[in-house]
Amino acid sequence: MDLSSISPVTLIVSLMAASTPILLAALGELVVEKSGVLNLGVEGMMIIGAVCGFIAAVTTGSPWLGFLFGAICGAAVSMIFAVLTQYLMANQVATGLGLTMFGLGLASLLGHSYTGINPPAFSQIHIPVLSDLPVVGRIVFGHDPMIYFSLALTFAIWYFLTRTRGGLVLRAVGESHDAAHALGYKVIRIRMLAIAFGGACAGLGGAYLSLVRVPQWAEGMTAGAGWIALAIVVFASWKPGRAIIGAYLFGGVTVLQLNLQAAGLAISPAYLSMTPYLATIIVLVIMASDKKRQSLNAPASLGKTFFAST
């Protein structure tokens, strides 16, 4: 095995690309859960975003339109979940699982004739001088625009949740929908908007996967990324800044095991492929052992159906 073939700089650059889809989806789900809704359909919304974004990009030739359309489609399928759970009072866990299965099926149908096609290229930015700096240039200034967007979005969500009135109302709805309702806030409307935002973020993450990360369309290509995003929300204890750590940790292990496979580590690749998922489980177990702190941060109304009694 030749460990010297693994370059730290390349590793960091590629782990950022590997983490971005999960980060985007996790940020969206974080906002949804902060409003008190548990949407387990992230995987389904992601793959819909992946296929719709891919189709739009291939058809129009513009990756930007692909991202946009992926986000719109993610939000659109999330509305199925939203109407079922918010207006028809369906159980959120069951509906979310249903949404995942529905999304996976619909995506295979839509993407049937798009396998094996290359999408239009989505290139990295290049800033003269800065991007050519050794090490720093590639790590800080050499990514594609979506990576910068995902980082900006993290900051924006943190700012929204902690510094604005809208964010305060959203957290209040997730904390106690009865109290928020008694004060005259529109619980259902706020939750609908949060779910749509979560859907758009998941769709965007999916589109990044099919347009940049892979870049191809393949059936079932999200491969559990939506579930990892859900786990990262818990790992992050509903804090946007920590979602970056969680997503990059997972992305890092993914990229590292690929590199180790390439470097010829004498372990079956099957075991190496498991490591990101195992790492996620271990981290979640460690997090869950500190119940007190977690229950302080978790939205108290998470997953509970709201029914206005007055």
Binding site: L168, A172, E175, L296
Partner: protein
């Protein structure tokens, strides 16, 4: 003088029940007006109409002589109506300032708001730190959050829904001081309660509701609590007759009971010791959240402790579960009726089975004896006068008072040696409460030991033979209930909080 608020002919019907039927009264500026009635008399519905949460089917409200028909709370607030809720309006995981900002329509920046909160709380003697998390506050402090939230909007009418149900007597005094100051500044107050002594102390006029209708008005200072209670209930009330107390043998002996709480906002039990004798009613007072729930869990067997910590009739049972304890004669009825004492969606028969199966032999080799169970449920319903169409109806379909009668009855009918009850009459109407107290006294008279955990001091004074206070997870010395004054108990209950509130 035009009244501040004039209500006439207000009617609101829900499927199957007329919550308000042609209700009308008026409130003058600077008046403290009491709205008096039992649970289910329609007080809450009326208040929700004034605050814009519910719209009346017919009738008219006038504020300053103008037609007033708020479509939502925001509109009511804009017109100068503010409301202090009984429950459901604070967010535990948010800070005091955030909670207050949520209740305002044009909240200023956090820093400016914090300053305003400090100045208002100082002006009205309501100590409050804007940066603290509401989940860490006591019930009295939480109420101050609500009051300050209202005061920041300079209301003309302040609506208070059962404001004292969670306060210590000293906290009640502080609250009344604030209310008097507000009244002197010209703010009107609509004060909803079923605590008659308080209404006599603070209110200028009272309107009494029964079954959705106005059944009378009075000047509380000129009435006695008894005459007002009879107007409220519509019949004469009999108060339980206290029998002389002769302690029998020790039935339940608790020694150095420790129990760490599993709830992040809960209270751990520390070194609790007491003995309960045959024929004794031991009252445990304390403000909510001082370990009452934990004490019930430890005694019922839902939380296990060291074997020697709890001894029943000479046998150590601290490490035994609920069914074992039931068979030995220790029964319990927790505070939360729906979800803890009874399963809301299950029928009364099924609920009777849940705690009764061991002692009443309602199962045979794992199979339920439905006929026997139903007879048991029927017997409870009949003896405890539970108003329900039948034993097959779901527990949640019963009113609070009726379900409580069922829950307490279910335990008493099993002839316990020791019965532990937490808040037996919380949120229960006056006649059902009197009935339950009578039943507990009767049980003690037959030789059982009864432990009553309650926040209602009047109730404890009425039925207890002996008395102790639970504060911050510690139980005070048990003393005889005769000769204890409300003030003494209040000081014990408040602990350090008392100095804080008086400051």
């Amino acid at each position: 003088m035009t009244p501040l608020l004039h209500l006439s002919g207000l009617t609101k019907a829900y499927p199957g029940v007329v919550a308000n039927d042609n209700v009308g009264f008026e409130i003058a500026p600077g008046e403290v007006h009491a709205l008096l009635g039992e649970n289910g008399a329609g007080k809450s519905t009326l208040v929700k109409m004034i605050y814009g949460l519910v719209r009346p089917d017919s009738g008219e409200m006038r504020l300053h002589g103008q037609v007033f028909a708020p479509h939502e709370p925001r509109e009511a607030r804009a017109s100068g109506v503010a409301m202090v809720f009984q429950h459901f309006s604070l967010f535990e995981a948010l800070s005091v300032a955030e909670n207050i900002a949520l209740g305002m329509d044009d909240a200023p920046e956090t820093d400016a708001l914090s300053d305003e909160i400090r100045s208002v709380s100082k002006k009205y003697g309501l100590t409050l730190d804007p940066d603290r998390m509401v989940g860490d506050l006591s019930a009295g402090e939480r109420q101050r959050v609500e009051i300050v939230r209202c005061l920041l909007q300079n209301p003309k009418l302040l609506v208070m829904d059962e404001p004292t149900s969670v306060l210590t007597p000293q906290e009640v005094d502080v609250l009344f001081e604030t209310l008097r100051r507000l009244r002197d500044e010209g703010t009107s107050i609509l004060y909803i309660s079923h605590k008659l002594e308080e209404i006599r102390t603070i209110c200028d006029n009272a309107t009494i509701l029964r079954l959705g209708k106005v059944v009378g008005t009075c000047v509380p200072a000129e009435e006695t609590s008894r005459t007002m209670a009879e107007m409220m209930v519509g019949t004469e009330l009999k108060s339980p007759t206290k029998r002389p107390y002769k302690p029998g043998r020790v039935l339940l002996d608790v020694k150095n009971l420790q129990l760490p709480s599993k709830d992040p906002f809960g209270t751990s039990l520390r070194d609790v010791s007491f003995s309960l004798h045959a024929g004794e009613v031991l009252g445990v007072a304390g403000v909510a959240g001082n370990g009452q729930d934990e004490l019930l869990l430890a005694l019922s067997g839902e939380e296990l402790t060291e074997d020697a910590a709890i001894t029943l009739k000479g046998i150590a049972i601290g490490s035994k579960g609920p069914n074992h304890r039931r068979l030995q004669g220790l029964l319990a009825a927790p505070e939360e009726r729906l979800g803890h004492a009874a399963a809301p969606d299950m029928s009364l028969t099924e609920n009777a089975l849940l705690t009764g199966h061991a002692r009443q032999r309602l199962t045979n080799k794992g199979f339920v004896k439905w006929q026997a169970t139903e007879n048991f449920a029927r017997a409870i319903i009949q003896r405890f006068d539970v108003r329900t169409p039948g034993a097959s109806h779901a527990a949640k379909s019963l009113s609070g008072g009726n379900l409580q009668k069922f829950v307490i009855g279910r335990e008493i009918m099993q002839r316990p040696d020791v019965l532990v009850v937490n808040q037996p009459t919380w949120g229960v109407d006056a006649s059902a409460a009197a009935f339950i107290r009578e039943a507990l006294l009767e049980l003690a008279e037959q030789g059982a030991g009864v432990l009553v955990i309650s926040q209602d001091l009047d109730e404890l004074m009425e039925i207890s033979d002996t008395f102790a206070v639970l504060a911050e997870g510690r139980l005070s010395r048990v003393r005889s209930a005769s000769g204890v004054t409300i003030e003494e108990i209040g000081l014990l209950m408040g602990g350090t909080e008392v100095d804080h509130a008086a400051a």
